[in-house]
Amino acid sequence: MKYMMLIYSDESIWTEDEREKCMAESVALCHDLNAQGQYVSASPLHYVNTATSVRVREGKALVTDGPFAETREQLGGYYIVDVANLDEALEIAGRIPGARMGTVEVRPIFELDNLPIAAK
């Protein structure tokens, strides 16, 4: 089963050192997961002040500056893993460095079999 792990935390509480350490640990974790055959993809995201939201209403696209919702904790990155069950996913979530500063939301991916495979 595939799971998406969304990492939420208060962006403002991270020091530059903490952020760098978190990136390095995350990259190491991804390599580790890949060696176990559990890695699908992962990425950090730029600060939420770079977010742009789009809504289409009556055929017209409304573009606004900012995230979907203003919250105390912001989405800062994600992982997608392929594991046997929720317990394995939760075990990985507990190793994500962002879990120590914020919250990791684990969501099972609704798999469709008629999606294209990305051409590079």
């Binding site: 799971y3 069950n85 929720l86 317990d87 939760l90 099972p108």
Partner: protein, 407 residues
């Protein structure tokens, strides 16, 4: 014969169900298949005689019913791997039955499920209670409870909660959730949190039944400690309420009416838990209950021992309610003034401001110090906060007694 089938249903239905969930990987399919297998047994067994191994017969019949249904409904992906006969060597049979029941319990009590879902699923799937019975016990509409169960099963399926006994690394942490669910069921039955009756025997019985099952399946120290705790409390069930329906405090209960057989069973379990040195908070609470159970009167209780046990409990599971209980025990050992100082300090910290029993305890200490005015004010505050009719009645009675004395 039909009587015999009813007995087998009572004994085996949930065990067969637990195995079917593993084989069929679907709670609803397993439940339907189980019912169909028993329907088939009602027709065939009176004609052909009781099978040599009724449980194996039921598992096999239910599995075929499920395969038939999946074929009819053309659910091919669910059929995958189901059509080969699962072979469990006979010497492994007992082990498999134990494992399947544990799988069911750990799945229903998975921490990814909200506590109210854990409780609902455990009572429905492990104990086999009907949705209506669970709804009545928790004073919610049957439709609400049915929805809760649907939500729980959907989460198990879609989130990929495994049907597994957790490995050694996770076992003790996951076992704690299971024990908490059982204790919540017991407490809901023992101190019904609202409504007219203080006691819901059906939930107490189910919790004890679950406790016994778990001791049989997984005889760890805290599992025994929890069962001991429930039995030692349950032993006092007949003396908690007077003939007039009034709440009786421990000191006013008729100790000759306590159930000695349950006390004895509780003590034996507790000893075994304490000897293992692996015990936790449930065993310590059971030890406190055991000290009460052994005392001939409230005054002759070993209060020093009780205070010491509350201190152990505070280290294992710190909580202001445990501190309150310790303060009351100190009052019994050293007199009401010593207890009052501790209760005041606790109330000043704020966490127990809205807990009716903290104000009731304070009132009782003032009463014993003959400070009627202060006692009256605290009883009034407790009465404002109490939800339980029987408790309110008790508090009103105490207030009346003070008013009569002062008149």
């Amino acid at each position: 014969m039909l009587n015999q089938i009813a007995i087998i249903y009572h004994q085996e239905a949930r065990r067969v169900f637990a195995t079917l969930v593993r084989l069929l990987r679907d709670f609803d399919l397993a439940e339907d298949a189980l019912q169909e297998a028993f329907t088939a047994a009602m027709q065939q067994w009176p004609r052909d005689g009781l099978p040599h191994n009724p449980r194996a017969w039921l598992v096999s019949a239910a599995r075929f019913k499920a395969i038939d249904r999946l074929r009819r409904e053309a659910r091919l992906e669910s059929l995958e791997g189901l059509e080969e006969e699962p072979v469990a060597p006979p010497e492994k049979e007992q082990e498999t039955i134990v494992d399947d029941q544990l799988r069911l319990i750990f799945t229903c009590c998975h921490p990814a499920l909200a506590p109210e879902l854990q409780i609902a699923l455990t009572l429905r799937e492990v104990c086999g209670l009907t949705t209506e019975a669970i709804a009545t016990a928790f004073l919610v509409a049957p439709a609400t409870m049915a929805q809760r169960l649907v939500r729980g099963k959907a989460k198990i399926r879609h989130a990929g909660i495994p049907y597994e006994v957790p490995g050694p690394k996770r076992l003790s942490e996951r076992l704690q959730t299971v024990l908490t669910v059982i204790y919540l069921v017991f407490n809901e039955g023992y101190h019904a949190s609202s409504g007219d009756s203080i006691h819901r025997p059906d939930l107490v019985q189910e919790a004890i039944r679950l406790g016994r099952l778990l001791v049989e399946l997984l005889p760890e120290a805290e599992v025994k400690g929890l069962l001991a705790l429930m039995l030692l409390h349950h032993a006092r069930r007949a003396t908690r309420i007077s003939a007039e329906g009034d709440l009786l405090l421990l000191e006013d209960q008729d100790r000759t009416q306590w159930d000695q057989a349950l006390i004895c069973e509780g003590q034996t379990l507790l000893e075994s838990a304490l000897l293992s040195r692996q015990f936790g908070a449930f065993s310590v609470q059971a030890a406190i209950a055991a000290v009460h159970a052994e005392a001939p009167t409230a005054a002759a209780t070993d209060w020093t021992q009780i205070v010491a046990l509350y201190e152990v409990l505070l280290r294992l599971a710190p909580s202001p309610i445990v501190e309150l209980n310790r303060a009351v025990a100190v009052a019994m050992r050293e007199g009401p003034a010593a207890g009052l100082a501790l209760v005041d300090e606790l109330l000043n910290r704020g966490e127990l401001q809205h807990y009716h029993l903290a104000h009731a305890a304070k009132a009782d200490l003032h009463r014993r110090l003959d400070q009627q005015q202060a006692a009256r004010a605290c009883y009034l505050r407790a009465l404002e906060l109490a939800q339980q009719e029987v408790e309110k009645k008790f508090l009103r009675k105490r207030l009346d007694e003070i008013d009569i004395q002062r008149a």
